[in-house]
Symmetry: C2
Subunit: 185 residues, 2 copies
Amino acid sequence: MKFCSECAAPLIVEVPEGDHRPRHVCPKCSAIHYQNPRIIVGTLPVHQGKIMLCRRGIEPRIDMWTLPGGFMENDESLAEGALRETWEESKASVEIEQLISVISLPIVDQVHCFFLANMPVAEYSTTEESTEIELFAPADIPWQEIAFETVKTTLQHYINSVQQSLTKPYQVCNTTLGPRKSDTY
Amino acid sequence: MKFCSECAAPLIVEVPEGDHRPRHVCPKCSAIHYQNPRIIVGTLPVHQGKIMLCRRGIEPRIDMWTLPGGFMENDESLAEGALRETWEESKASVEIEQLISVISLPIVDQVHCFFLANMPVAEYSTTEESTEIELFAPADIPWQEIAFETVKTTLQHYINSVQQSLTKPYQVCNTTLGPRKSDTY
């Protein structure tokens, strides 16, 4: 971030009055340009006890398996975003059951939220983002080929909940993964 | 958003290749400037069955009561952000117990996340943001003077959970409040 998006003046970095953190501030129009974490939303679609995974057709982690998900957009709820991403990546129509995981990833300034979703019919198709889509029994999950830690954590949490015969709604897995940026840079 | 924050060129609004939505795009350097929902994090601090509320010293909703909370920052987890905001607004040291609510507010492109927190000692003090801080028994909550719907929903969900004698961890309240922007503009 180098220039003010309101007036095009070069930005400076300073702690605004009444704030505690350095921000990108415009010395000309005084606009403060905040940067905040972004939300990833997705679903864990289940059809007759099997979990739908998508093989990624795009970077990062191309060719690895993932749950459908992506950046939450403005003007939608978490659940709406999760349904939209599921449709975009797999053309699957699913029904939201409950929030199943909320995972902070401070290293990349993201929060990942997954919903357990019921998939009444096993209808889906490959897309530009997904080169292969498959239903996996819990015992057959390709753990070594899962694209993201948050997806792995979400799958493990769901499978543990089912195996412990917990009744729905399941507890939401809320955790933090990975180091802080301040730990590594 | 009028100018490119990378090269200062005037932005245009168009649907980038492979995308489905209009974005702010730079015709000079091709940067795409996404806008995404922001996260509000806070706590519901409980000391010996009483809930800590803060009277707002700043707009919006000045003089109304709220739970401590504010914008999640980069390089922190949800729980860390909630603890930071609680300290900044009330100088209270609390211990995170569990995520208690996750509420989408598409009308303002926000997601509000509150944590139930234990407050071992009743130590707190007013700040620039909070002109008065008080512990309320559930029966004494000033419902007519609660600043935000998400705070009201979070308080009601917690009190219902306690009154139903549910054991911890409580279920997370996950819901959406208010209309879409597309409903109103």
